[in-house]
């Protein structure tokens, strides 16, 4: 009987030099920079915008991976946090402020509050119940957003209109003040580089967090939840903390979306979005953090490039690749890359032991 595990549950081994995971991450980062050079040299603002969208969606996938890969919680409704983040960010920029940092400063605690409420509801349950509750929660909120227009708020620029089934458009271009200089996000390259930085910082932050006692407790939770209380830990608190953190990440990257596309729509909250994030996580490699980013890049590429060639057929291809990944390649792209990088090297291993 072959035991299949979704994650390569081994913790990042601390050794001299970069861990295999960070090697993959560094390669991906350099790849992204190379891509930016290519896009600038050959003047491809469309692909830069697409890549920026992939990075933003990658942030959502990372937040899903934080729950699935490290706590064993499959969320089928993370688009809820991403979409609400997008709405909050977009409405703030449209009606109240032009400041990037102020928007972030407001979206993050608001996402944390939404995550706390969602977590308190969803974490009443575990396993499949958790998956179904998160699914239902997102469905319900999506329907509410779908029919909501004016929310009774008056802003200096008129009544705040969420826009119902159409969403809203017209979020102005944003300038990011970075003390020494400022980035104009209307420039595709600036936006791409900023998003790449934010994604990298999030990755490194989470990678570090997973090596702290907090991260190790999450991993222990995933491995054996029943044993944890006997060791004096309260599993629910850790799960709730991870859930809130995950909601904050999803909401934060959601807030970037209207800056890129100029608006937010109810589609951002649909099951399709949550599902895509889960697909990216599985294809890229669960519990690797960098895998979801690579998975998202692949998926966005499939959807827009292959999708424009093949039309509806590409969803079938995505679905089949996904099914094949679950059955045949449960470790995902990064999982296998990691196994390759970590393969035993007899001579070097011996010197390590001797020294």
């Amino acid at each position: 009987m072959v035991e299949r595990e979704l994650t390569a549950a081994t913790p990042p081994v601390s050794r001299r030099g970069l861990s295999s995971l960070n090697k993959v991450a560094l390669t991906a980062f350099l790849g992204a920079l190379l891509f930016a050079v290519w896009a600038v040299v050959f003047e491809q603002p469309f692909y830069l915008g697409l890549a920026t969208e992939a990075l933003i969606l990658g942030g959502l996938a990372m937040s899903v991976d934080l729950l699935l890969g490290y706590c064993g919680l499959l969320s089928l409704g993370h688009a809820l946090f991403f979409g609400l983040g997008a709405y909050m960010g977009g409405l703030l920029l449209l009606h109240y402020t032009g400041s990037f940092w102020l928007t972030c400063l407001l979206v993050v605690p608001a996402s944390a509050a939404i995550g706390l409420v969602g977590g308190l509801i969803a974490l009443r349950s575990s396993g499949v119940y958790f998956a179904l509750i998160t699914f239902a929660m997102a469905q319900v909120v999506e329907k509410v957003v779908f029919v909501t227009n004016e929310i009774g708020l008056e802003s200096p620029r008129g009544a705040v209109d969420v826009g119902g089934s159409d969403g809203f458009q017209g979020v102005p271009g944003v300038e990011v003040d970075l003390l020494l200089f400022s980035l104009d996000l209307r420039d595709p390259l600036s936006f791409f580089l900023l998003t790449l930085t934010l994604v990298s910082v999030t990755y490194l932050g989470l990678y570090w967090l997973m090596s702290t006692p907090f991260g190790r407790t999450l991993r222990a939770l995933r491995t054996n939840e029943r044993r944890l209380p006997h060791l004096g830990y309260a599993p629910r608190r850790f799960k709730l903390a991870a859930f809130v953190l995950s909601a904050v990440i999803a909401g934060f990257f959601g807030a970037l979306y209207p800056m890129l596309r100029g608006g937010a729509f109810p589609e951002l909250l649909t099951f399709g979005m949550s599902g895509d994030a889960v697909i990216s996580v599985i294809i890229g490699g669960t519990g690797t953090l960098i895998g979801p980013l690579i998975g998202t890049a692949l998926l966005v590429f499939m959807r827009s490039v292959v999708g424009s060639e093949l039309g509806d057929l590409h969803v079938i291809i995505v679905g089949l690749v996904f099914i094949a990944a679950v059955i045949f390649f449960p470790k995902g792209i990064v999982g296998y890359a990691r196994a390759y990088l970590d393969r035993p090297k007899p001579d070097r291993g011996r010197t390590d032991n001797d020294g």
Binding site: R4, E5, L74, L132, I279
Partner: protein
């Protein structure tokens, strides 16, 4: 007084009848889901896709010139082999892994993507609306109800009763319950557990397809026609208890009535929120749902 009576007769009662129609359909969907979960521990996210499959096979058969009633009998029979193949090719592959819950959930999610897109490519995104096989209306206590809806309520109730009889009174039903209770013990008593799994999975899907057939004259046939129902069906299964037949029936009637009656006084969207709130409340106090599991009746 007259106003109240008129309200009851022309607003409340017809709405409750509509609720019964939805209720019967949702219960049929939920029964398939709950049987599959109770026995195989599999949350079938492709259930809505198989519901749609029923509708599409129906319009294909009607297009071939078959009678609605003949098609209604044929559809579940045609979906059965599809269910058997799905179980063998997808579910069995990950059935013995530690992450069975998550993996089967993901697999059936992938399957629903593929199926719904296939429907879209073959039949187009627009709804098809087959003619109801029974036209006309019947008068009941002064209300005029479409005959087909009345038929649907009775036929659905009959199906639900037949399914429970099959599960709790037939030999194969006993095997299913035995396998759900303890599959190793069942296997050592000579029950072919593997084939019980396949057939039960296929049976659940056939029931979903049949509900697709029954509801297509009312709601139409389109690629994601299952989406509207699957939310209610999952809510019913969770409230009733994953794996419980009795739970699915009770929760199905309860939630759909809550939904339709709430829709009278508020927008259907907020009625959805109410259904979700009911579900959360039940989970707060009885995380395992209102009733027990398949193995325990």
């Amino acid at each position: 007084m007259v106003d109240l009576f008129t309200y009851l007769q022309f607003v409340l009662a017809p709405q409750m009848v509509t609720g019964l129609v939805i209720g019967v359909a949702v219960i049929l969907m939920a029964l398939g889901l709950t049987i599959i979960f109770g026995l195989l521990d599999v949350i079938n996210l492709a259930h809505g896709a198989f519901y749609a499959l029923g509708g599409f096979v129906l319009i294909t058969l009607l297009g071939l010139g078959l009678d609605f009633w003949v098609a209604m009998v044929l559809v579940p029979l045609l979906v059965l082999p599809a269910g058997l193949v799905t179980e063998r090719l997808l579910i069995q592959r990950v059935f013995h892994s530690g992450d069975r819950h998550t993996l089967t959930l993901l697999l059936t999610f992938g399957l629903s993507l593929v199926m719904e897109d296939l429907f879209k490519i073959i039949y187009g995104p627009d709804p098809h609306r087959p003619q109801p096989p029974i036209s006309g209306a019947v008068e009941l206590l002064g209300m005029y109800l479409p005959t087909y809806r009345v038929f649907l309520i009775f036929f659905g109730a009959l199906l639900i009763a037949a399914l429970s009889l099959f599960l709790f009174r037939s030999d194969f039903g006993a095997r299913i319950r035995a396998a759900a209770y303890d599959r190793h013990m069942a296997a050592s008593l000579g029950i072919q557990v593997k084939s019980v799994y396949s057939w039960t999975f296929a049976l659940g899907l056939a029931v979903a397809a049949l509900s697709g057939v029954l509801l297509s004259p009312i709601y139409g046939v389109y690629p994601d026609m299952g989406h509207g129902f699957i939310f209610l069906a999952f809510a019913v299964v969770i409230v009733g208890g994953l794996g419980s037949i009795k739970g699915a029936v009770v929760a199905g009637l309860l939630l759909t009535q809550v939904f339709v009656l709430a829709s009278l006084v508020m927008s259907p969207v907020w009625a959805d929120v109410l259904v979700f709130a009911t579900m959360v409340l039940v989970l707060l106090f009885r995380p395992q749902g209102l009733f027990g599991s398949l193995a325990h009746g």
